[in-house]
């Protein structure tokens, strides 16, 4: 089986804190990691490879330091890695990013299935997978919590809000995984050494993937950030006073306003 995995290197947002003085993100010392759900995707690919044989190519788009994340993917067991790296890709929203990744997939050429995580913990959009599937005109299955391949079809349990549905799609297709799917394996010591000593990761630019200039980077983006700001910090230590019936009503109102509880 020829499997393509898509992966993004992201800052570990669980460690990210807001500077109380400036209200902006403190990025120092925040480690870069493989996007957690992409790790689930890599694990799913490794399981498929163990069962059906074949090869896994891992593609990522990012600055040169994203190479480290690809090395980690290799150390987990993927066979080949490619980094899409070009100043021309910068400033891309999901439309432009998904186009570039789709063109890279086309450049790789052989694939039976494309697997990625459902969403990245920095952008939180979950749009890349479906947009790539559309560009490549292939079926998509999102929110996958199990993945099997039988009779040239992907067989998936797709998570819903109140349960799940069992779906099937012919290959080639694109699947996005949720964290419930599996527990990603650790890199092994010997693969780590190989990743550092033997692995060569090609950097592909826009030209090498035949990307149209107008469809990538800022030019290829249809959305733009107008501003970013820190969410309202919660008031610390607000004592609610009054009769019990009133106090609890106040509390409910606060919790609703803070978006802690909602409909």
């Amino acid at each position: 089986m020829d499997i393509i995995c898509l992966m993004k290197q992201v800052p570990d947002t669980t460690d990210v804190k807001i500077d109380p003085k400036t209200g902006t993100l403190i990025r120092e010392g925040v480690p870069s990691i493989i996007n957690p759900e992409d790790k689930n995707a890599i694990e799913a690919a490794l399981v498929l490879k163990e069962k059906h044989g074949g090869k896994i190519v891992c593609i990522s788009m990012g600055p040169p330091q994203a190479e480290d994340a690809l090395r980690e993917a290799y150390a987990m067991g993927v066979d080949e890695c490619v980094l899409l790296c070009d100043r021309a890709f910068a400033g891309a929203d999901t439309l432009a990013t998904s186009y570039a990744l789709a063109m890279a997939i086309k450049a790789v050429g052989k694939y039976d299935i494309i697997i990625s995580g459902r969403q990245a913990i920095d952008g939180d959009t979950a749009q890349i997978g479906p947009q790539i599937a559309e560009w490549l005109k292939m079926p998509q299955i999102t929110y996958a919590r199990t993945l099997e391949v039988k009779d040239n079809k992907a067989h998936v349990e797709r998570l819903l809000e109140d349960g799940f549905e069992v779906v099937e799609a012919p290959l080639p297709c694109l699947v996005t995984c949720v964290k419930e799917m599996n527990k990603p394996r650790y890199p092994t010591v010997s693969r780590i050494l190989k990743a550092c000593k033997e692995l060569k990761i090609p950097f592909w630019n826009a030209q090498q993937i035949n990307a149209e200039k107008s469809r990538i980077g800022l030019d290829g983006s249809a959305t733009g950030v107008k501003r970013t700001f820190a969410p309202e910090p919660k008031g610390l230590g607000k004592m609610l006073t009054g009769k019990t019936e009133d106090v609890v009503k106040q509390l409910v109102k606060h919790l609703e306003n803070d978006n802690i509880i909602n409909r």
Partner: protein, 379 residues
């Protein structure tokens, strides 16, 4: 001279740290409480290649360098000193002497399983009457036809309760003294071999320390490791390597203590502010951090020396001596910083101080290390 970690050392550290935080740390207090050998963790570490890191790839290891190895042991020890020593013994006291002294056939028979964690290894040198005086071996090995018959007991042997493969030292020629000691590869299934008393320890609880009993234990002649009489040399060279692992373990334990103090000192308030705002605590923490960093550098230098020099006994001894005594000082301070809470089993530092003590004793007491270091300087 570079102090930066190489790419592979960085990746090793990341992997070992993640494994330690996610797989070991949540179980560490339970292991200490129940004293139960964490065999599943040992197998997991095996599948990742952590039980035979430096074994050559042809024999199923990763062939990584010693600096990488010490980085991994330090991270494992940060989560659990017991788990770290289980890995360290397997790597340094079993795989290493086999790698250095075994025949091709012996290597093929034993290394792949030990490197992959399928089988666990143990090092049997210490006896009731032979601790620091390791040369006074009472265990004897008599050659009979195509076998050696071993008789004797070993005590305080780490991993013993769950190990499959043992490096056992015994006297083949009492007249020659230490030069009459030979090393043997003993499997737990050999007739006459059994595990005796399982020790109740102060610390590193769960590391499977027990007595080995050889009662007319029959060992095939093909399992002699190295030449007859070469055993003591093998033991000493092996311990040189092993004490680097122990030194790394001590740094890991101390690092855990420091991190606990950093957290606690900013949470615990007295006199209206976190105790971390008081100079007394700040200076304690500063001293702890400085000592840990110094020990870490000694460990990495010793590891580098082992990889690049013929002789590295002095570096290994310095690293082990300093790191272990530092670890004891740091963990004592850590309990002090935690005050009464640090004396309860609720807090990790109570266990860390108990785990720390053994690092000053095993694989050569601090006194032995001082002998080794001064021995090289005053000739």
């Amino acid at each position: 001279m570079e102090f930066k970690l190489s790419k592979e050392q960085e990746m090793m550290q990341k992997m070992a740290k993640e494994f330690a935080d996610k797989e070991i740390a949540p179980l560490s207090q339970e292991i200490d409480k129940t004293h139960k050998f964490p065999i599943e963790l040992a197998r997991k570490m095996g599948t990742l290649g952590l039980m035979g890191m430096m074994v050559e790839p042809a024999m199923g290891g990763a062939g990584c360098d010693t600096v990488c190895y010490t980085i991994a042991i330090e991270e494992l020890a940060r989560a659990s000193a017991a788990v770290a020593i289980i890995a360290s013994v397997n790597n340094s006291l079993v795989c290493y002497p086999l790698q250095k002294n075994a025949t091709e056939d012996q290597k093929k028979s034993y290394l792949p399983d030990l490197a992959s964690g399928k089988k666990l290894g143990s090092f049997g040198l210490t006896e009731p009457g032979a601790g620091t005086d390791a040369g006074s071996q009472a265990t004897v090995a008599v050659k009979k036809d195509n076998e050696y018959i071993l008789n004797g007991t070993k005590i305080f042997i780490t991993n013993a309760t769950n190990a499959d493969t043992f490096i056992i030292f015994a006297m083949t020629d009492k007249a020659k003294g230490p030069k009459g000691i030979s090393a043997f590869i003993v499997e737990k299934t050999f007739p006459g071999f059994s595990i005796g008393t399982v020790e109740e320890l102060m610390g590193i609880r769960g590391s499977g320390q027990a007595e080995l009993v050889m009662d007319n234990c029959r060992v095939p002649a093909g399992n002699l490791l190295g030449a007859e009489g070469a055993g003591f040399g093998i033991a000493m060279a092996t311990l040189d390597s092993g004490r680097i692992g122990v030194a790394a373990q001590a740094v890991g334990i101390a690092q855990a203590a420091l991190e606990e103090c950093q957290r606690y000192a900013m949470e615990r308030e007295q006199f209206g502010k976190p105790i971390g705002k008081f100079q007394a605590i700040q200076w304690m923490v500063a001293d702890m951090a400085t000592e840990i960093e110094a020990a870490r550098l000694l460990v990495r230098k010793a590891a580098y020396a082992k990889d690049t020099q013929k002789r590295f006994s002095a570096e290994a001894a310095m690293a082990k001596l300093y790191a272990s005594e530092m670890c004891m000082r740091v963990t004592v301070k850590a309990v002090q910083i935690h005050g009464g809470y640090g004396y309860t089993k609720d807090y990790l530092v109570e266990r860390l101080i108990r785990d720390a003590k053994i690092t000053e004793i095993y694989e050569g007491t601090s006194e032995v290390q001082r002998m080794v270091i001064s021995g090289g300087l005053l000739k």
